[in-house]
């Protein structure tokens, strides 16, 4: 942390002076390329200003120079932790504009793939959160289990982090023989560790003491500030795009939306835990219900592919909340305008600033990571 200015003339309570501090981007409590300027008095925060932009690569502009298909490697880089929902939403938007049908089996494969990605992303979030609280063991477990999911992705798609597996018209290739069993085995070995996670972390008194009541928002505030995802579900509203506007195969199987009532960091992290378990059950159900058939409908020659004039807003539930894409075509072979509504955007730029007021310095990381803010998603 770097001290930017010291104001000794201000009021003399507490430590007696106001400091301006830079929190991040190189700070142990900060995950990702993001910084917050804090005005503090003692260790109480008076005002906080979020500074995004460290990862602004201008993807939305760059996408206007590339053809519809060329953009797939770009979209997945917008969110490093969970690139899969980015591919999904771009494919959904292109399919809607070009009116391409997707085979039934591809819908199921997409759902399974997205749920695997959700579990992987939540494990990453758990790593960050547990690490920040000092639960190194749990953090290492979470990283290990995430790696098992990345192994699955590597076998399925050839890439560990960026997969570019979802494609307009379906998915790139079908499951290999025996891949279903591998998914089941991996999920069993992860699910078998849930009691361990519970006894060391989730039911641990230290986690309760450290997270209960931290970064609390009411449902009304969550609605005003544009919250979605865990931040909203932790306040009691079962708002989940997978239920509200089902895409892929989410309406084909039974599943529940995990909800908590208190709206604090403790509730948000519990929602993340419950969602992982729900996703694992959902994958088992989807694997059972998956029909046979093709996984891919042919699209026109990508080099000459022109998409009719139009505009579309599509949304899906990424692991952090509502992910939206506003896509405009002017009838050409490239998008005319691309704009992503990423869930971390309101979380990191509005809610974080509001919650940090009057919080302690020790809680900055706690609030930020429990809000699940991912910087590349904000900057784009």
């Amino acid at each position: 942390m770097e001290i930017l200015s010291v104001d000794t003339n201000s009021k003399k309570t507490g430590s007696g002076r106001e400091l301006e501090l830079y929190f991040g981007p190189q700070h142990l409590g900060m995950v990702g390329n993001f910084s917050i300027t804090l005005k503090v008095e003692g260790d109480r925060i008076l005002k906080s200003t979020a500074n995004p932009g460290y990862l602004h690569r201008g993807f939305e502009k760059l996408m206007e120079y590339r053809t519809w298909i060329q953009n797939f490697p770009m979209v997945c880089r917008i969110n490093v932790v969970e690139p899969d929902s980015m591919e999904m939403i771009y494919a959904m938007a292109v399919e809607k504009l070009a009116q391409i049908e997707v085979p039934e089996r591809a819908h199921f494969i997409r759902s399974i793939y997205l749920e695997l990605a959700r579990v992987g992303s939540h494990l990453f979030g758990l790593w960050a959160y547990a690490n920040m609280l000092g639960f190194d063991t749990v953090a290492q477990w979470a990283m290990y289990h995430r790696d098992l999911i990345l192994d699955l992705f590597e076998e399925l798609t050839g890439g560990r982090v960026y997969h570019i597996y979802i494609w307009p018209g379906g998915v790139r290739r079908d499951f290999n023989p025996g891949f279903k069993d591998k998914i089941v085995n991996t999920l069993h070995s992860i699910g078998g560790c849930v009691p361990d996670y519970d006894s060391t972390f989730f039911n641990n008194r230290l986690f309760y003491e450290r997270a209960k009541g931290i970064g609390k928002i009411t449902q009304e505030q969550a609605k005003q500030w544009g919250a979605t995802g865990q931040a909203l579900r932790a306040t009691g509203m079962a708002y989940d795009i997978r239920k509200i506007e089902p895409y892929a195969a989410y309406d084909k199987v039974e599943w529940n939306v995990p909800v908590r009532q208190d709206g604090d960091a403790y509730s948000r992290v519990w929602v993340i835990r419950d969602e992982m378990i729900e996703s694992v059950y959902m994958i088992f159900k989807l694997l059972d219900a998956m029909p046979e058939g093709p996984v891919y409908n042919r699209i026109p020659n990508p080099f000459k592919w022109k998409i009719p004039k139009g505009e579309v807003y599509v949304r899906c539930e990424s692991s952090r909340g509502e992910l939206g894409l506003y896509l405009v075509s002017n009838g050409g072979d490239k998008p005319y305008r691309v704009h992503f509504r990423t869930p971390s955007y309101p979380h990191g730029l509005i809610i974080l600033e509001k919650l940090l007021e009057n919080a302690g310095i020790a809680d900055v990381g706690n609030i930020m990571i429990s809000l699940y803010v991912v910087a590349p998603e904000i900057d784009r």
């Binding site: 995004p52 932009g53 602004h56 201008g58 939305e60 502009k61 760059l62 120079y65 609605k223 005003q224 500030w225 544009g226 909203l232 009691g236 509203m237 079962a238 708002y239 239920k243 509200i244 506007e245 909800v259 505009e311 579309v312 807003y313 949304r315 509502e322 939206g324 506003y326 405009v328 005319y336 305008r337 704009h339 509504r341 955007y345 309101p346 730029l349 509005i350 900057d379």
Partner: protein, 171 residues
């Protein structure tokens, strides 16, 4: 559901054009003077989530299009009524020569960073916005970089071609 929204909008406002593109997608074209009242009207009818504020540069028509995407939160906590499925794309056009518009932060608090972004990347000035400070960029560009006449590739060439290459004979 979407029919009744269309009716309500068209009967209350004169110059509003409502198109139902799909069961869940409604496009509302609004004159720029009416945007705030239309947004307020829709917010009172449970479209209380401003998902996105976007801007499209229609350079040939010399206009910017401001786009507000509205969805609704759930009214209860558990039950889905079907209105959450709908989303409205409220659009208006403003002149490209002097891009100015009113802020909607008075109606939707969460519009603040979106308008900051549009101000920075498109150069649209939002009157009444309390914090039109830079968000992502660290340099001041002559043309705001997301406008269509800002050519990213040309810019990169202009900037980086001036920097000489290093001599490297290490083959």
């Amino acid at each position: 559901m979407n029919e009744s929204i269309k009716e309500q909008l068209e009967s209350t406002f004169k110059a509003v054009v409502v198109n139902i593109l799909e069961d869940s997608r409604i496009v509302v074209d609004v004159k720029k003077e009416q945007v705030l009242t239309v947004l307020k009207f829709l917010k009172d009818r449970n479209f209380d989530h401003l998902a996105l504020v976007s801007c499209v540069d229609w350079i040939e028509e010399k206009e910017f299009e401001l786009v507000y995407i509205l969805t609704g939160y759930m009214q209860g906590e558990k039950e889905y009524t079907g209105q959450e499925r709908l989303h409205l794309i409220v659009k208006t056009r403003i002149s490209r020569q002097s891009p100015q518009f009113e802020t909607v932060t008075g109606i939707f608090q969460n519009a603040e960073p979106y308008e900051r972004e549009i101000h920075e990347l498109f150069g649209v000035k939002f009157e009444g916005h309390k914090r039109l400070t830079p968000l992502f960029l660290e340099r001041d560009y002559e043309i705001p970089p997301f406008r269509k006449d800002f050519d990213t590739r040309q810019y990169v060439q202009d900037v980086f071609d001036k920097i000489p290459f290093v001599e490297n004979n290490d083959k």
